[in-house]
């Protein structure tokens, strides 16, 4: 690092890395411990929805919640503002 570098400000890529990891790790930990079929279920549901509505794969969320005695499989799709686009 020379004298000039002192005046150049770089984007802080470490904080970007940390933020991205925080999100992906939380998401992957959430899916852990659930049944193995969840990722496949998600993909197949997405294919079916795709036949009717053009949704972003990111807009499909599957959550498995465990409560005393029962499990709830929650499935939510955020539809695009103008369907079909």
């Amino acid at each position: 690092m020379g004298l000039l570098a002192l005046f150049r400000s770089k984007p802080n890529s470490a904080s970007i890395a940390k933020e991205r990891l925080r999100i992906i790790v939380a998401q992957e930990r959430g899916g852990r411990g659930g049944p193995d079929y969840l990722p496949l279920l998600r993909r197949e549901l997405l294919q079916v929805i795709h036949k009717y509505v053009n949704v972003d794969p990111e807009a499909v969320q599957i959550n498995l919640e465990r409560e005393a005695g029962h499990e709830v499989l929650e499935f939510s799709v955020a539809l695009p503002e103008k369907p079909g686009e």
Partner: protein
């Protein structure tokens, strides 16, 4: 009491074998009886890092198959009397390692009153990695401060918590430690590299060591002398601290800051 420690990471090339070799040497130097086992079947490398590649006669798979005794396959280190290496087989048969076979070898090491068995895991999450961690009491998760390494190590944490003997028999699970390697304090200070605090926060693990990035690591593997044995190296001192922490000592982390440079060095770069 024998303690079985897996050195694992998920991602390749982060320093598992370097860490296994140095931790094994460090423990042996403290008078412990140590066996270090290469679980990377087909891609034997620990022998090179330990500098005993020309003394491998029998390997891990030979012991499992009953071609030789464990004693015949264990290579005694020439530098440290209480240190032994069990080389991986170069076979291409992926099913050469079996849970039953690995259990038998570990049971024999326990019966022989080894203090520590270090299992050097292969990269990935296939059979070799699974068996390296399956019987572990503790895990040293080797991580580079880099996105793919951190993510992969979290995947490994998931497996340690669900696919190990200790996780399934209710023995309190595998105790996990974080070991950061290739740490570059200058790049951390300039915001180009995640800090030890960042990685610790994301993974939620206690830190057993931070190994600074150092040319001594390559020099050590070139020479076949584990880096911890290089008295002049910061990386060696950092591995020495990690071994002390493994033995229960409480030490502050070192080498987290860039060594001070003179005014002219800073002005003219370098």
């Amino acid at each position: 009491m024998t303690e079985i420690i897996v050195v694992t990471s998920g991602k390749g090339g982060v320093g598992k074998t370097t860490t296994s070799a140095s931790m094994a040497c460090g423990l042996a130097r403290r008078g412990k009886r140590v066996a270090v086992i290469d679980f990377d079947i087909g891609l034997r490398n620990l022998d090179l890092i330990m500098g005993c590649e020309r003394r491998v006669v029998y390997d891990f798979v030979n012991v499992i198959n009953g071609d030789c005794t464990l004693k015949q396959a264990l290579i005694k280190d020439k530098r440290l009397e209480t240190l032994h290496v069990l080389a991986a087989s170069q076979t291409r048969d992926k099913d050469a390692l079996t849970e039953e076979g690995v259990r038998r070898v570990l049971d024999e090491l326990i019966a022989e009153a080894f203090d520590y068995v270090i299992c050097d895991s292969p990269a990935g999450i296939e059979k070799g990695a699974h068996l390296a961690m399956y019987f572990a009491d503790r895990a040293v998760v080797v991580v580079n401060p880099e996105v793919s390494s951190v993510r992969d190590s979290d995947r490994i944490l998931g497996l340690l918590a669900s696919k190990t003997q200790r996780s399934s028999n209710g023995n309190g699970g595998v105790k996990e430690h974080l070991l950061l390697t290739r740490y570059n304090p200058r790049r951390v200070a300039s915001g180009e590299m995640m800090s030890v605090g960042d990685v610790k926060e994301i993974l939620g693990l206690d830190v057993i060591g931070v190994i600074p990035e150092s040319p001594d690591v390559l020099a050590a593997s070139n020479a076949g002398v584990p880096v911890i044995l290089n008295e002049e190296s910061d990386a060696a001192a950092a591995y020495g601290d990690a071994v002390s922490r493994l033995l229960g000592e409480e030490l502050p982390l070192r080498f987290l800051e860039e060594p001070k440079r003179g005014f002219f060095a800073r002005l003219f770069g370098g």
